[in-house]
């Protein structure tokens, strides 16, 4: 294990090579390849696309949270000069409830992008307009008249569970019950994970912490609103330009909703200004394609912030009931958790993942995790970093903090006593290989923050977090250009600096400098299929594809050199960026530049490729966060004084970007804990639809987030990489809540911890 420490972010290490780094490129901190365009405003995001003859789109949205659509009248809007077309749900492909696969229910997705016969949340799209200007399109959208039968909205879990409450979706019958539900229900699914006999074992515990927790709906808060442009041509081909987390995902989903063959659609990825999981689905693309198909002209649609907040994927609010039993020495002996997550208006909250992650950081032989997926009249929940895990971790890590207090034990020592290590079987059934939870806790115990003394109304909170990390399908191609430099193409949008990490892994494998590698994100017709950018999979899985493509390229370069030298290919090896002929000292090594020059003589252009499904080997990620806060007893305001994020990252390819992932996750989690929540009125209308009212943390709200990168190499990756993007948002909710609870000596169980709640506790 090694660790790289960044004490203060305003003084990031500018070292080109970290101490103890055995690699030449990996572990250094070069300038990111896409950085210049982004900081000079030249990068093209979804909304920047301009096409000849382009029309502008606007969407008519429901002002009601729950209502039947009795009639849609577009006649006035169509008469407006400059309006070219209007579409409704009936213009999309006709789909059935059975049109679904493992990842997505297309019947629901189609009803989400344009409501069918019922609106299910405030802001639900009903019709889309294309016009010659944005002003006209907006005006036309307002002229669309919809006749509703208003229904009582179901805004929270408690209401949704009442038998007397309206049913949101009559197609939903609770899955996972031992006795099938014969009536439609707002509860879509029950999931359960069981290890040992927790209920019996809990009775043997010396201490049982039994506590209920709750959190609110929050948004991913990406800065760039959803945007796309589409052009449908007379040969029945569509091209889409959009910012998303997966061009192939956009292609597949849009094809299904538009009734097109997948191969008829080309998706060109634009730069993406944040996604955090919220851009792993589609909202606008099928509308733009259909409007373009109807008008014969390209159509661009860009959401405003209000639309983003009202109608795109927040993550679930939820409740958690934890029972954690320990012996007198603090050994955890049984844990039970019941999670209830809001799915939004369509089934599919991440409650199953919440169950699987809840107790995963700990060595428990007796665990039961039960989850309920519950429909409410809010936007369909979308993924948000480590989906499902933060709410579950908030509950479990808060309970652990309280037990530490009861036992008068140091909270990190208590976690160390119980932490999962190599050989621990997690409640979801996997036995861990080498993992770094213990090392993270030890790093926390030794951190400078942990030993700083606190004053009255100041408190310290600690929490651990876990994420599985995943692999999946990735493709990469590396081409040698005529000058001997290489281009690395992958099919994954660059959200968190993947261009840099791909280039660095290619450079390291090839034995050349980062400056000789140009990484690009290819469109769906220029690279084979790749799963979307999410789940902390790209540096791990696409990185593996890049390494394999580079290895393939090296083999071909050696063959070409052998051919040129007229020697047996077995006599040629690759070393330090050159082909060398072993056993022949009279032959000079050949560089990539020289190999590029002989490419045409020896068989043509040279490239290497890899199309792989990385089914396993994604090393799990563990993190530990330490938060110091100060509570103002007069106003209830919480100030985060100091914050350290520690994580086992396997091997940091580009430490600055890895530190950035930890800092970003911490910042988002702090917002989730302290400020952020969807606020609805009694009619189910969202009241805080902008960043003035929905307050994500800004720079002045936070201290510099200190980071400690623990490096326990993942044996499933050639360079030891573990995914890093998801784990950092798992601990902050509990770390902050524990800090506030300790500052005011009252246990805070309901997020966000706004001043009103804090003052009511202080009294």
């Amino acid at each position: 294990m090694s660790s790289v420490r960044t004490e203060e972010l305003n003084k990031p290490s500018q070292k080109t090579k970290e101490e103890g780094n055995k690699f030449k490129v990996i572990g250094t901190r070069p300038v990111r390849p896409d950085g210049m365009d982004k900081v000079t405003g030249k990068a093209n995001f979804g909304a920047d696309i301009v096409l000849n003859g382009m029309l502008y789109g606007a969407i008519h949205r429901s002002p009601h949270a729950h209502a039947l659509i009795k009639k849609i009248d577009i006649s006035k809007a169509l008469k407006l000069k400059g309006v070219k077309s209007i579409i409704t749900h009936s213009d999309l492909a006709s789909l059935k409830p059975t049109d679904k696969n493992a990842n997505v229910n297309f019947f629901d997705l189609a009803r989400n992008v344009l409501a069918k016969d019922k609106v299910l949340y405030d802001g639900h799209a009903i019709a889309a307009v294309a016009a010659i200007s944005q002003t006209i399109a907006n005006k036309a959208a307002k002229l669309i008249e919809v006749e509703y039968k208003i229904l009582k909205p179901v805004m929270d879990i408690k209401t949704a569970e009442k038998k007397s409450s309206p049913i949101i979706d009559k197609n939903i019958f609770t899955e996972g019950l031992s006795e099938p539900n014969k009536k439609p229900s707002n509860t879509a699914k029950k999931v359960e994970f069981l290890l040992g006999d927790p209920e019996k074992t809990l009775k043997e515990a010396d201490i049982v912490l039994d506590r209920k927790y709750s959190t609110q709906t929050v948004h991913q808060g990406y800065i760039e609103p959803h945007a796309c442009a589409a052009s449908y041509t007379k040969d029945n081909q569509a091209t889409i330009w959009c910012s998303s987390q997966g061009a192939f995902m956009v292609r597949a989903y849009t094809a299904k909703l538009c009734g097109l063959e997948t191969s008829k659609i080309k998706v060109i990825p634009a730069e993406i200004g944040g996604g955090f999981g919220g851009k792993t689905t589609i909202y606008l693309e099928p509308l733009a394609v259909k409007l373009s198909q109807k008008t014969g002209r390209p159509v661009k649609i860009v959401m405003n912030r209000t639309e983003v907040m009202r109608a795109t994927g927040p993550t679930s609010g939820g409740t958690a009931h934890v029972k954690l039993g320990t012996d007198k020495k603090g050994n955890f002996i049984a844990g039970l958790i019941e999670l209830k997550y809001e799915a939004g208006a369509f089934a599919g909250s991440p409650v199953g993942l919440g169950c699987m992650t809840a107790f995963a950081p700990y060595n428990l032989k007796h665990v039961k995790c039960t989850g309920w997926d519950i429909l409410v009249n809010r936007p369909k929940a979308a993924a948000y970093r480590a989906p499902g895990a933060p709410v579950a971790a908030f509950a479990v890590e808060s309970a652990i903090d309280e037990i530490a207090s009861i036992l008068q034990m140091d909270p990190i020592e208590l976690r160390l006593k119980n932490c999962a290590t190599e050989g621990t079987t997690a409640p979801y059934g996997v036995t861990f290989d080498k993992i770094g939870h213990k090392e993270c806790l030890e790093a926390g115990l030794n951190s400078s923050q942990y030993h700083k003394k606190l004053k009255p109304y100041q408190g310290r909170g600690v929490a651990s977090g876990f994420w599985f990390n995943i692999g999946g399908n990735s493709s990469a191609e590396i081409m040698i250009n005529e000058d001997g430099n290489v281009t690395v193409a992958t099919g994954n949008p660059d959200i968190g600096g993947s261009r840099a990490s791909m280039a660095m892994m290619a450079a390291e494998t090839l034995g050349i400098g980062m400056e000789n590698v140009k990484p690009i994100v290819a469109d769906t017709e220029s690279i084979p299929y790749s799963d979307l950018t999410g789940g902390s999979r790209v540096t791990f899985a696409t990185g593996k594809a890049v390494i394999e493509a580079a290895t393939d390229l090296i083999a071909e370069m050696c063959r070409r050199a052998a051919k040129f030298w007229k020697v047996d290919p077995a006599q040629v090896e690759w070393k330090n960026g050159t082909a060398i002929c072993i056993e022949r000292t009279d032959i000079e090594p050949m560089s990539m530049k020289q190999i590029a020059k002989i490419a045409f003589k020896t068989g043509g252009a040279i490239s290497g490729k890899a199309n792989i499904n990385v089914k396993k080997g994604a090393g799990p990620g563990f993190g530990v966060h330490i938060c110091d806060v100060e509570v103002d007893p007069e106003t209830g305001r919480v100030t985060v004084l100091r914050y350290t994020a520690i994580q086992d990252v396997g091997k940091a390819i580009h430490p600055s970007y890895v530190e950035g992932q930890l800092q970003g996750g911490a910042a988002q989690g702090i917002g989730w804990a302290l400020n952020e929540e969807y606020v609805y009125n009694e009619h189910g209308n969202l009241m805080n639809t902008g960043f003035l009212d929905y307050r994500i943390p800004v720079a002045s709200d936070l201290p510099m987030i200190e980071t400690i990168l623990v490096e326990v190499p993942n044996t499933g990756h050639p360079f030891g990489v573990r995914g890093v993007g998801e784990t950092p948002i798992v601990p902050p909710l509990a770390a902050v809540a524990n800090a506030v609870s300790n500052a005011i000596d009252k246990r805070m169980t309901d997020l966000p911890l706004n001043p009103i709640k804090i003052l009511s506790e202080i009294g």
């Binding site: 493992a102 990842n103 996972g176 031992s178 999981g277 699987m356 996997v430 036995t431 995943i470 789940g535």
Partner: protein, 82 residues
């Protein structure tokens, strides 16, 4: 003999609520095919949306994974991310 653990929604639909099953085979698809003979339709149901935990690994898109030294196979919801 390998122990196979299946989720509630599959158990309730295909195995009369039994979560823990036993099957023989050297490769995962053989094992699941033999289960399918006992519980028709279970293979198809487990093929969509479920990964499986083989001792120390979660395997997505499972197919013909070798089961040397594997004592239990636990089917779990496929893991996505944000």
């Amino acid at each position: 003999m390998i122990k196979i653990f299946i989720p509630s929604q599959i158990a309730n639909n295909y195995t009369n609520g039994i979560h823990e099953l036993n099957a023989k085979g050297d490769k995962l698809d053989q094992v699941i095919t033999s289960l399918d003979e006992q519980y028709p339709g279970i293979k198809s149901a487990l093929s969509e949306g479920f990964a499986c935990a083989l001792e120390n690994e979660i395997v997505h898109d499972w197919f013909d994974e070798e089961l040397d030294n594997v004592r239990s196979v636990r089917f779990i919801p496929a893991i996505e991310g944000g």
